[in-house]
Amino acid sequence: MPDAPPHRTTLSAYGTAPPAASARRRVAATWVLWLAVLVAATALMLVVRPRLDKAHVSLAFLVVVLGGSAAGGRALGLSLAVLAFLLFNFLFLPPFHTLTIANPLDWLVLAAFLVTSVVATQLLNRAQERAEAARQRAVEMERLAALGAETLNAGRAEEALVAIAEVMRSALGVRECEVLVPRATPSGLTSLVRVAAGGGVRDGAVDDARPWSLAAWVAEKRQVAAERADGTKWIGGADGSDGHLQWPPGTTEVVTLLIPLMVRDRTVGVLRMADVMPFTLDPSREQFLSALSYYAALGVERVALSAEAERAEALREADTLKTALIAGLSHDLRTPLTTIKAAANALRQRGSEEAVAIEEEADRLNRLVADLLDLSRLNAGAMPLRLEINAVDDLVGAAIRRVAGALGGREVVVTTASDTLGSGGGRPLLVGRFDLVESLRALVNLIENAAKYGPPAAPIELTVGHDGRMIRVVVGDRGPGVAPAERERIFEPFYRAPGVPPDVGGAGLGLAIARRLAVEQGGDVSYAPRPGGGSLFALTLPATDDVVPNDTSPSAADRPTS
């Protein structure tokens, strides 16, 4: 079959064991043939008996015995030896046609003939058996080698598993071989691949509702089990985790054989071989089956790993797509938001109350879009930062300016921490090395958060200070504060404190984004309860040791602190 895939061609060359009936016919024919040869040789010698010596007769019989032994095995050889012994005595040792012997020395000849025939038959057969075993092993080696190549060559992991299953099936000469793997089915197992005599191949898991109770037992106990034709079961006694399985004795006729598949002490599946006709397991194949079931176990493992890799790849692609989608959406949302805002503004000029709500909601939507953009940017990893020497004045000033519109006239008070004030009460210029744009975003989020949760009349208080190697901006509000159990969770994306009405604020991203932006720059955002009620959110950023070269000769109070 020239069009078949290579591995199928290779597998079909293994062939199957000959059917039992024809084998028996062949054995009978051999016996008949060699008995006929014995009779013919005897008849020929009878014709020329007067001219024959005892040595001639014994040599002729020996040739026949060895010939029969070589062709038909030990049983035929020994039978021929005994028959030849009797014929020798009866027809060729005087007195003829009796089993008595006249000359006592003839006993020696007869005994020598018998011993020689039996020993020669035994030796010949043993040599033949060794040759046969060697041939068998050569075939097995060839199969294993072919299998190794197949499994390395297989494009899909399932194809390698099919190759292994087919080799095992043909080696045992059974009708079908199946690999069962753990799945969330009622029995806990499902069929992953199946090969059957005549080329029936299925690779890929199916919805399998068959009750694999014995197979599940095999998987759990890691022992070989078999089922006889009458429905009774044979189970092995040895746990297979050390690599030694106990196999059913060669005399046990079974219709199903179940072998646990193990990789590094883990059961990855069960191999099932079945036939409608009972079969026996030749003890000489146990080693071979053990090796192959390890191959099969590795094959199952590979299927699982490649499925996992595919899943990871799919997740990665989904992530890229999501990021691109969010960026595109953000852009496409902002253009119509501009139009909506402008239209609402025009309506408000004409005295519409609802227009105010439209404008506010447009702004809220815009903030949400910005949050989503930031989150996707942070999740994409490797955020480009521009760490530059910046003054905290710039950070705080820009933050206040940015939130001014959204605070509805609420006051923001900035003070300098008492431990940071100069000796004369001067406010030192705090300088750090950070990305102004990202830090601004973090601080704006903290201020907006304070505005959301604090009482509308109370001002939002900012305290600027430094703390060893870090500069610090603390945002204080007089809101309800945060319960101890919630103090870390508030920094998780989309987290909302219990009891917060859904119309307060955005999607619960502000604090999460603020912290992550700060951490990216070597800083942090932390929470502390505020004495007297409320919350304190501290943004810390790395200070800088760089001495600013100065032609400005500023007063002592103006000199950078760090």
């Binding site: 960026a327 953000s330 852009h331 902002r334 253009t335 119509p336 938001l337 501009t338 139009t339 909506i340 805002k341 402008a342 239209a343 503004n345 025009a346 404008e359 447009a362 702004d363 815009n366 953009l373 521009r386 530059e388 020497i389 910046n390 003054a391 004045d393 710039d394 705080v396 000033g397 820009a398 206040i400 300016r401 900035v414 210029l429 300088v431 102004l436 744009v437 601004l440 900012l462 760089d546 600013v548 070269p549 100065n550 032609d551 400005t552 000769s553 500023p554 103006d558 950078p560």
Partner: protein
């Protein structure tokens, strides 16, 4: 039937103020038109870059509002090509562009930018500032002291007084202030500011530029956390606002 299509050139009149809007989204175009109707006598519109360049050359508008996300041309390219023959003020509308891109735009010759979604008041204020700046150039300080809020800046005598008290500025601070005042109402990038003061594109002092500005701000602003004149454009540069 007049030849030459619908955009018949109008006679150029120096006191007539016109605006060209280059923007592909018709909704945003209408918003800009509505905002500017009271400010200018005519609003021209173009929905693509090449068309915008053609109209700009034909109409010679007093101001151009340019969208960055045009279907045919990069906004920076449009800016650069207008700058080869005109110093007309350009205000850029941007939706998702990073600070780096805004900086590149300003370096390419744009005068200011407004981020979408913007309020009409914001756009109107920016347009007014640019139109005024275009009219009053060059720097009026050459003639006499410039009064900005409670500051009096005398460029000729190189002195600054705040509420009658002399403010002592170092040479660097003076350089920064005069560069900012010269470009009042316009966002000036870090690079442009550095170049204006130090006369080169790069130098060791560049990394301390923000610290120098912070020192200057502390000297001339009443509250450095709520600056009224030296406004920070995060990640881009600074803008001097004279009328606060």
């Amino acid at each position: 039937m007049r030849p030459g299509g619908p955009s018949q050139p109008t006679p150029l009149e120096t006191d007539e103020r016109t605006v060209l809007v280059i923007e592909d989204d018709p909704g945003v175009r209408r918003v800009v038109r509505d905002v500017l109707r009271e400010e200018v006598s005519a609003v021209f519109e173009a929905d693509a870059g090449e068309k915008g360049l053609t109209v700009a050359a034909a109409e010679r508008p007093s101001l151009i509002v340019l969208d960055l996300g045009l279907p045919d041309l990069d906004g920076i390219e449009v800016c650069r090509r207008i700058r080869t023959w005109s110093s007309v003020p350009i205000i850029v509308l941007s939706a998702r562009h990073s600070e780096d891109e805004k900086t590149a735009l300003l370096d390419a010759g744009a005068d200011d930018y407004v981020t979408k979604p913007f309020g009409p008041a914001e756009l109107r204020a920016r347009v007014r500032a640019q139109l005024r700046r275009a009219r009053m150039a060059p720097l009026p300080g050459g003639d006499g002291p410039l009064t900005v809020g409670d500051l009096v800046i005398d460029v000729a005598r190189r002195t600054v007084t705040r509420q009658g008290t002399t403010v002592h500025l170092t040479p660097t601070e003076w350089g920064l202030l005069s560069a900012l005042v010269t470009n009042a109402g316009r966002t000036i990038t870090h690079r442009q500011l550095f170049h204006a003061v130090w006369g080169s594109a790069h130098g060791d002092a560049q990394q301390y530029l923000r610290v120098y500005v912070a020192h200057l701000r502390r000297k001339i602003e009443r509250d450095p956390y709520a600056p009224r004149h030296i406004v920070t454009e995060p990640g881009v540069g600074y803008r001097f606002e004279p009328d606060a």
